[in-house]
Subunit: 120 residues, 2 copies
DNA sequence: TTAATATATGAGTAATCACTCATATGTTAT
DNA sequence: ATAACATATGAGTGATTACTCATATATTAA
């Protein structure tokens, strides 16, 4: 080790040769982060179940908590997470807060993915 | 606290009343986990960039490493992750290993999501 | 007012993650 | 054989995460 150490593959790599000038098109950092953020929001079993329930009807926190067999606090935290990303929205009625899907695009992404995965 | 503690909302909740008999349809646990697993795989900026690059062409590890401006080890680890989920596949040619997308469904999920997010 | 209910939230924690570093493996050239 | 290169991988680490617990807030009823 520790000798000539050619700085890059540009001269030696048997690869694509596309490194110079650059591999295009490039996805801007902020877009990559934004896309990943959405996928990550859908990348947890509890949140998947929540979204799946809300595909069919609006539900209050307690009903979600019961349906998911999880503590109310855990559900509230996840709903907060989804709400911050505008995936889910609130409707208050007395003491009760009903949640439903907020974004048609997210809903379509979810449903289309569901269909894809069912045919794999 | 610590007194009557009614066991559930079934009698008192002002909610949907759908708790009994149950909220249907239910997404089976293993399906929820599987769906979340796929979304999670797409839920990281580095992996998003990798998949985006591979949408357009096959690339070797070094070229990906250069394009992503990340260490070769980090890239290899992520490629391993994606390969385990059959999102990406290998093709060996001498010393070089080329990676490309392995699954048309995942590719469609990715592209459709890209389009959705561009129109939000 | 006080009590009960429904939800929200901050702190704490164990598990997971996305890297780095060092090293191992595999391939080609000399 | 040895050396150089290309990739893979195990260990280690700091950051993030998905929960629990206790408590706060909000609404309604008595």
């Amino acid at each position: 080790m520790e000798k000539t150490l050619i700085e890059s593959c540009e001269d030696t790599c048997t690869g694509t040769g596309l490194v110079q000038p650059a591999i295009e098109p490039r996805l801007p950092e902020h877009q990559a982060v934004g896309i990943a953020e959405v996928f990550k929001a859908l990348g947890d079993p509890t949140r998947v179940k929540i979204i799946y329930f809300l595909l069919h009807r609006e539900l209050c926190v307690h009903d979600l908590s019961t349906a998911l067999e999880m503590g109310q606090s855990a559900v509230s935290h996840q709903l907060r997470y989804l709400r911050d990303l505008h995936i889910v929205k609130r409707r208050k009625e007395g003491k009760t807060v009903f949640y439903s899907l907020d974004d048609g695009h997210i809903e379509q992404i979810f449903v289309q993915t569901l269909h894809h995965l069912q045919h794999m």
